[in-house]
Symmetry: C2
Subunit: 112 residues, 2 copies
């Protein structure tokens, strides 16, 4: 991840990060989102986010499967996504606002 | 502009919006930024931002030339760009942070 632009300037990366904030963690959860991310793109973006230190792999269901979770660096994106959501809700009415899929699950991080 | 994702999820769009916040207004100003946006892409993104109501054309130099300026909707992106910049400065040290080109000219908008 060369710069913040590689993260913010990519539609699919933002959607994956949003899904993680919404509580999703497994590959199939991300593919189930209504935007329909292609699996090859999802694989690529997950790898980039891991190598960029934004997310990490984590065991699920007693270690039988694995998923992904936000690192501290990833959690620190909360204010960015919240600001995007606020803007979308205020200025892009009539369209699905970014981060506004089912329930607003994003809360500001407890630590700076 | 179908949704906020069309704005936030595109690298070049974010760069143009950043340039406007940095005080640039003319086509040639945007092409002079170090990221080197191709002129055909710049033309496309300016048109999209105008049609999306984020920027508007404005006369310059007594009406002989024209440039672009942020609308109220565009100015409302300030908090988003500030949050991106904060994250970049904190977590992507060693790379040029988004919005950190020469001088931090972005200030929060005076009106919500």
């Amino acid at each position: 991840m060369a710069s913040a632009l590689d993260l913010f300037g990519d539609r699919w990366t933002l959607l994956v990060v949003r899904d993680l904030f919404l509580g999703r963690s497994r590959f199939k959860d991300f593919t189930a989102s209504p935007e329909g991310i292609p699996t090859n793109i999802l694989t690529d973006r997950l790898e980039r986010l891991v190598s960029g230190g934004v997310i990490r792999k984590t065991p699920l269901e007693g270690g039988k499967r694995f998923g992904y979770e936000l690192t501290e660096k990833g959690e620190a994106l909360g204010p960015v996504l919240l600001a995007m959501r606020e803007w979308g809700l205020r200025w892009e009415e009539g369209t699905r606002a970014l981060l506004e899929e089912q329930a607003p699950a994003i809360t500001p991080p407890g630590q700076g």
